[in-house]
Amino acid sequence: MIVAERKPIEEIIGFVQNCKKILIVGCNECVTVCYAGGKKEVGILASALTMAFMKEGKELEIKEVTLERQCDPEYLEELRGFIDEYEAVISLACGAGVQFLAEKYLETPVFPGVNTLFMGVTEERGVWSERCQGCGQCILGQTAGICPISRCAKRLLNGPCGGSTKGKCEINPELDCAWQLIIERLKKLERLDDYETLIPIKDWSTERAGGPRKLVREDLQQ
C-alpha cells in the first residue's frame, strides 16, 4: 500500500485560512488502512479545523466526503455535482489522488492533507515500513524476496557494503542490513550458491531516472 501521514494541522490551516466553505475528501484505499486519510480521519480533521477557526472567531463550513478511490476517474466524478460550491478542497489521498483530483477539477484549488511517504507494509498495528520503490524491473527473484533497492540505503545490487555490522546498517543501528537478510534467507532456502551470481548493472531508465512513467495496456484500452 501507499503509506502516508497527516500533515501538521497548522500547515493545513494555512492552506484554507481565508476560506469560508471547504470540502474535505478522503480516500477509502491505502490511506484508510494507514489511518491517514479515510472516513474517520476526514471527520477528525473537519472537527479540528472547525474548532481552530471557531477559536479565531471565524466560521468554516465543511463538507466531508470519502471516495472509494481518488486515483480512478469514475470515483472522482462523484464530486462533479457539488465541488463548485466550495472555495477549496483538502484531499487526504496520497499524492497521486490529490493530483488526479486537481487535474479533473481545474477551477477549484486542491490542497494535500497528508504527506505521502512510501510504498510499504504494515509490520504491526501502527508500524509501517518501506518495501518497494517501483524501479520497474523487479529483482526479488534473485534476492530471496528481499528488495535491496528499497531496503538497502545504498541500493546495492551486490552487497553488503563495508558498513554492515552485526546485521545492521551503518546509517541507523535499528535498520536491518538488507543484504544480511538476503544472505540469511538464501541460506534457509538452500540457495546460497545464487549469491555468487552477480546481479548485472541495472537499467535505471525504468525508474525515476527515465522521467515520469506511464503504462499502456492496449488490450484493456477502449
Binding site: 494541522i9 471527520g43 477528525i44 472537527s47 479540528a48 474548532m51 471557531m54 477559536k55 472567531g57
Partner: protein
C-alpha cells in the same frame, strides 16, 4: 472531538483497570488514542490538558466520584474552553 466542538470544557475517558479489561487491550489502545487526541487539541489551541484518561473499575463507585471531582477541579482551574467562549460570542451576536 465532538464534545469539544460542542463546547465541552473538559472530557475524561473512563476505561477499565489495566489488565482487567473485558476487551483485553481495549483500554490500553484507548489510552494511546487519548494521547494522540491530546496532541491534536494542543495543535489547534484548545489544550490537550482538557482531555484525560482514567482507569476505574466498574464496581469502584468511590473512585469514580473522586475522579469526577478531580476533573471538575482541573477544568474549573483551566476556565472555559476557547470553543465554548466562541460559541457564546456567536450566540450573543
Amino acid at each position: 472531538m465532538e464534545a469539544f466542538q460542542k463546547g465541552a470544557d473538559g472530557v475524561y475517558v473512563a476505561g477499565c483497570l489495566e489488565g482487567e479489561c473485558h476487551y483485553l487491550t481495549g483500554n490500553l489502545r484507548a489510552k494511546k488514542r487519548v494521547e494522540y487526541t491530546k496532541k491534536l487539541l494542543d495543535e489547534i489551541g484548545v489544550g490537550g490538558e482538557r482531555l484525560e484518561m482514567y482507569n476505574i473499575a466498574a464496581s469502584d463507585g468511590p473512585r469514580f466520584a473522586e475522579v469526577a471531582r478531580e476533573m471538575h477541579e482541573k477544568i474549573k482551574a483551566l476556565g472555559p474552553s476557547p470553543i465554548r467562549e466562541a460559541l457564546h460570542k456567536k450566540k450573543a451576536a
